[in-house]
Amino acid sequence: MLVLFFLRPWELTTEASFAKTGMTMPKVSANELYEGEAWKPSVGADGYALVSENDSYSLYVRPDTTEIAVLDKTSGYRWTSNPGDAELKHENVKGQLLDQLKSPFVMTHVRTKGKDQTVRESLSNAVKDMTTSLIRQGDGLQISYFFPSKGLGFTMQYELTKTGLKVRVPSKGIKEEGEYALFTLDILPYFGAASSQDDGYLFVPDGPGGLIRYDTAHAKLSRGYIHQVYGNEMTNSGNWTRSGQRRETIAYPVFGLKKNDHAFVAIMTEGEDSANVTALSPGMKSSFFNVFSSQIYREEYLYRMSRLAAPSKAVQQEKLDRDREIEYRFLNDQNANYSGMAATYREYLQEKGSLGKKLDPVAHVPLYLKIMGGNYEQAFGQIRYVAATTFAQAEDIVRRLQERGVTSLQTIYYGWTNQGDYNMEKRFPIEEALGGEAGAQSFTSQMKERGVRVSFYEDFLWIDSKSSFSPKQDAIRGIDGTAFVDGDWYVAKPMYTAVSAANTISKLKEIGVEGIHYSAIGELLLNDYESSGIRTRDYTKQIYTELLDYTRKELGTASVFRGNAYVLGASDYIDGLPSASSYDFMVDETVPFYPIVLHGFVPYTFEEGNLRDDEEVEFLKAIEYGALPSFFVTHDDSRKLKNTGASFLYSSSFDKWEERMLKEYGNFDALSSLYSQKIILHERLADQRYATMYEDGTRVIVDYSAKSFKVEKGAGTNE
């Protein structure tokens, strides 16, 4: 009996339930290495040999150093992996740093035996005993490196494409045969490096987009912009900082460089989630500005033998076995800027089919109306649900808005789960204080009649320890191999998330809900360090996109909070997109790179109109960056929620905000013709004045000093 109770054979395993939903299991794919005869290149006068060429580009390699160069045939500009001798004349770094400056890679490794297993050492192409072997296959070139004294080796593949150059480090090419292990690998760290005499900037994916200008000094303050795509591994306490990393995590795997009239944009196309974007300015490691991706294979982490012992440092054993691929695309003249980079990235996403269809034009822009039902508090010694907006009241709010001219509305209802966030796993029956299942049903049918789409908000990642949930089985494991727990909160394994979401969806479908608004899955991506082998972020990404697709199929729409690049093709709306940078010492200017990519394809909103830190400035920013209006309202005064998890709603009473909402909606709606258009150019006209230009030539000019904006209608027509 007892055995039965523990094994619970009548319950399906998470895997079985997942299979039942019809979602497909994540696939692991790996690129093959080139095989064949070693290539014996014939070297030209400059030491370079032609590898291959197409209509637009030719690829060269210097067999002695393995430096590469790409000639852009249209402009005649030659991109090199490393600064040339002329550029290095004034360089003042010496030794290892100089070696790295001349190398197409920097490999960092650690020991796996003996003492000091966390000490990092670097290798470059200047290492004496390094051997290289070159193989040419089709348009591509493969260079395999091996360092006999360390027993380490890896392979790089270069391929020309119609738009530029692909660089790949296949996992199959990595050799760890000695007492050393690969830690990180910087790929083409000085590709296109610029000096402070050049005109231009580095582009880094900080918030909506950040520029590092060549005419500004950063060295004294900053250690460089070094951040992991989609945020670092939260389960590694070695990654925590005192300030708690209050910054925007990288949401899209792109970086770029503009040098005078030429620019490249680099898209990290594989293994991007396990890589840092690194941007450095003169004085940090060289006298150049450079930006590149540093691939992470292992991480140092802190582990505790016991609760009382001080944590010690260790390096993870198993490496992150993923192919790494970066695609460089080149831009010239009027396209050589961040608008051009964004357009190129958008084209890439479209080619790959991960951006979705273009939006249809609308007569009126939608107002994204979030409604907080309520949440629980502890009162009179027990858990009590505090209702701030019942379903009936929510209906009333929508009715009032429609009567006063807000014709297009999308609602997202929060806090509907049984007892709010208390016991995250117990979602049904829908909270009685709000009207229960019946109330929800009548709300959704009313909304359907009114032509208003209803999504329910829910978090399927974070699970509190009040839930009947087995952390041992279903919680993400941290880098130290134990179930990760932050305070009382666990993070569910991706498959568990998918299953509990699917269960919820089937119930919400009966009630008439038309979409799920997901928290967390668009912003939080982790490796799962299972003892049977690491499930990488790639696995997690695939399940999350599967889930979004499933949601769309079952309910109609799926939307997310924030919105890392992997959800773009499967989301109907992104909420809370970052509109400001992280105040990083390195970043000199914030630009709307991500909004340029998204506009016309995925609707997005910034901070809700009633929760902004600075109402006017953030409103103007939304206009400038092409965001849509959103508000987060309650029927009652939000003060009721002060002691609940919803205490971030400083002021949300609909009565207080109604007029402001109508006014703001009017302002946004005046731009409704731009809803389905791409942004083609964004520029700074003067200090505090910015212009955003759309496909049909319409320009929106925002003036922050005058706190106003104006629209110049374009001559062109919408396509």
Binding site: R242, A475, G576, E607, D613, S638, K642, G645
Partner: protein, 671 residues
């Protein structure tokens, strides 16, 4: 909805559990201190980091803002004073050129109203004076006085008053500020901190003899960390290390501290203090890792910014060395961690809330109204606006609204004033009714009792009721005639249900007092009250008393049986029951002006109860007075002993439980 909880990966000292909002986030959290609830709550930013400033400095160690809003930064490494304009651009430097005016490792600067620049030229052991354009004027060396001894004269911070008198902090001097006249004459020490009198020290003074005391390290006052001056000439000293006690002192010309050495929140690691034109104090504090804003009385209002030596973000300070506030209320901080200057400017919300607070502090309630309303429109949860608007309504004679708002803000003073007015109005309107009501009440009572008596005479109660009724009546009787009463109880064999019923009614009264005491006398959020805990605090001492009393007295030849002790102890509670009823009523109709009535009644109840317990012990155990006294004292001692043992056992078993629980979790959850 963990979304908003996903950030607190680190111990953000006081806000670890508070959620963080969505986008447009600053690199730090802003919080306000709610003095009623004694906790910090999140609020939208009141200051945000200004546009990027990229001044290259060597080692900025002090900062001050001149009356024309130029910012003077002392650079110890570059050995000069760097003057920035209000946008943070370098205007000129002072003391860099060779000659008599050359500075050596300077550490402090002050700019007078006339624009003269006084520099604590620590390396040259002097005060160097420059005009605002940087021309060297004169110097002040160590004054010729035996009072400064043979120590080196190493000035580190200073202020200069209107007459040109300098107040100088010497390197790690605990004697206070050195006062120098404009002629360079020593005018004595000023504003030394008080020596710390810890409990240990006092104990030592009691116990140790003279020789031993002489060997002890003397408790020296803490050296002043930094010094600032406001427009009225008050001198503010910052002192770190005292758990906030005297962290900021406001000294008048006589050296008297207007803050009375009060404890400043977030002041333990204070680096520097600055005073804004509206009277707000600003401190930057290494302990709380925050910039803190205080009102003119030194009560903390807000905390913003952050200190992190690994900082990579504007708004997060590496290692602060000084703080200054300009006429536009921008906060400037010199940071020797990143060798830069941080500037924070007020947000729109910050402007409103601080303007409102400033006007409120100045008593200009009417003027503060629009600002409060604007704050209230954007934040329902900030208690300050309820207090502020409450005060406004009070002034506008809108007592009903004032009452509502003051209650939300837990402002008992304001509430009491509004309540007094409302009560007055009510009395004026309903006076006749009230009098009639009282009279009719008396009549009903009078004739009712008579009627009841008549009824009882007509239909006498069965004789089996007689004893129980007598016992119940005794509950009141014992209050007035304790000796006689307790004798009756001792002799009578009181039915257990009566004892229990009486005890339950006392508990009922206790619960009534928890929930129905008027707001003014119990200003707490009722839903946060843990009634069980409150009851436990009432019942546990009473139960331990019974046990202790019985045990002690049976050893000491007391006559009382256990049942009698229980009975007696229940009856001894009668004053609590009877006095609580008027207290309950009074607490709901009295304002704070009549608070003394309620407090007196409460004290009376307590004393009366104690007397009852005493008499009970004497009567039940048949002791004489002295014996009773002795045994009561022993009982109290026994109670304490029981509790101590209880705590130890509880603690140990909790540890054991915790051990097994952790083991269970470790095995079950993680591996």
């Amino acid at each position: 909805m963990k979304k908003w909880l996903s950030i607190p990966l680190l111990v953000l000292v006081f806000i670890s559990l508070l959620p963080s909002t969505a986008s447009a986030r600053l690199p730090y959290i802003t919080a306000y201190y709610d003095s009623n609830q004694s906790t910090w709550f999140r609020i939208q930013p009141i200051y945000s980091p200004a546009e990027t400033l990229t001044v290259e400095l060597g080692d900025p160690v002090d900062i001050t803002v001149a009356p024309n809003d130029e910012v003077y930064v002392v650079d110890k490494e570059l050995e000069q004073v760097i003057v920035l304009n209000n946008d943070g651009k370098v205007q000129r430097t002072i003391g860099a050129s060779e000659g008599t005016g050359k500075l050596a490792a300077p550490e402090g600067v002050f700019v007078t109203a006339d624009g003269d620049v006084y520099v604590a030229d620590s390396g040259n052991q002097r005060i160097a004076v420059f005009t605002s354009d940087g021309t060297y004027q004169r110097e002040y060396k160590k004054p010729d006085t035996p009072l400064l001894g043979s120590d080196h004269f190493v000035p580190v911070k200073l202020v200069v008053d209107r007459r040109g008198v300098m107040y100088i902090q010497l390197n790690s001097s605990y004697q206070g500020l050195v006062r120098l006249s404009p002629d360079g004459e020593f005018m004595g020490h000023f504003g030394a901190n008080k020596a710390d009198q810890s409990m240990i020290n006092r104990l030592k003074q009691l116990v140790l003899n003279k020789e031993q005391l002489a060997q002890e390290k003397p408790a020296l006052p803490k050296p002043i960390t930094n010094v600032a001056m406001d427009a009225d000439g008050f001198i503010y000293t910052a002192t770190a290390g005292g758990e906030g006690k005297g962290a900021i002192r406001k000294l008048n010309a006589g050296g008297v501290d207007g803050f009375k050495n009060k404890v400043m929140y977030n002041g333990h690691g204070i680096v520097d203090v600055a005073i804004g034109q509206e009277g707000f104090l600003y401190n930057v504090d290494l302990d709380s890792m925050r910039i803190n804003l205080y009102d003119h009385t030194g009560d903390v209002l807000f905390a913003f910014g952050f200190i992190d030596k690994e900082t990579q973000q504007y708004g997060v300070i590496g290692y602060p060395t000084g703080i200054a506030v300009d006429s536009k209320n921008a906060v400037w901080i010199s940071d020797s961690g990143t060798n830069m200057v941080h500037k924070y400017v007020r947000t729109e919300f910050g402007k409103d809330v601080l303007q409102a607070l400033a006007l409120y502090a100045g008593g200009k309630y009417e003027d503060s109204k629009p600002y409060w309303e604007s704050v209230y429109a954007r934040n329902d949860m900030y208690n300050g606006s309820f207090q502020g608007l409450g005060k406004v309504y009070l002034h506008e004679n809108d007592h009903a609204d004032a009452l509502k708002f003051m209650k939300v803000a837990f402002d008992t003073d304001g509430y009491s004033k509004a309540f007094w007015q409302i009560r007055l109005e009510w009395l004026q309107e309903h006076f006749v009714m009230l009098v009639l009501g009282i009279i009719s009440g008396f009549l009903v009572l009078h004739f009712g009792v008579r009627g009841l008596r008549a009824l009882r005479r007509k239909y006498p109660t069965p004789s089996s009721w007689k004893q129980p009724l007598q016992d119940i009546r005794n509950f009141g009787y014992v209050m007035i005639h304790p000796y006689e009463g307790f004798y009756r109880i001792k002799e009578a064999r009181i039915a257990p249900w009566i004892t229990i019923a009486l005890l339950l009614s006392v508990i009922a009264v206790k619960i009534a007092r928890i929930y129905w005491t008027g707001f003014l006398f119990n200003p707490v959020e009722l839903r946060n009250v843990n009634a069980l805990r409150d009851l436990a605090f009432f019942i546990v001492p009473w139960v331990t008393w019974i046990i202790a009393n019985y045990l002690v007295c049976s050893i000491k030849d007391g006559e009382g049986k256990f049942r009698e002790v229980v009975q007696g102890s229940v009856y001894a509670l009668s004053p609590y029951l009877f006095i609580s009823i008027p207290v309950l009523i009074l607490s709901n109709v009295a304002s704070l002006d009549e608070a003394v009535l309620v407090h007196a009644l409460n004290t009376l109840a307590t004393l009366w109860m104690l007397a009852m317990f005493f008499v009970m012990t004497q009567v039940i155990h048949n002791f004489d007075f002295l014996e009773t006294f002795k045994n009561s004292a022993i009982s109290v001692f026994a109670i304490v002993t029981i509790w101590v043992f209880g705590f130890i056992i509880l603690g140990l078993s909790y540890n054991l439980y915790d051990f097994f629980y952790e083991l269970y979790k470790e095995v079950n959850f993680y591996h």
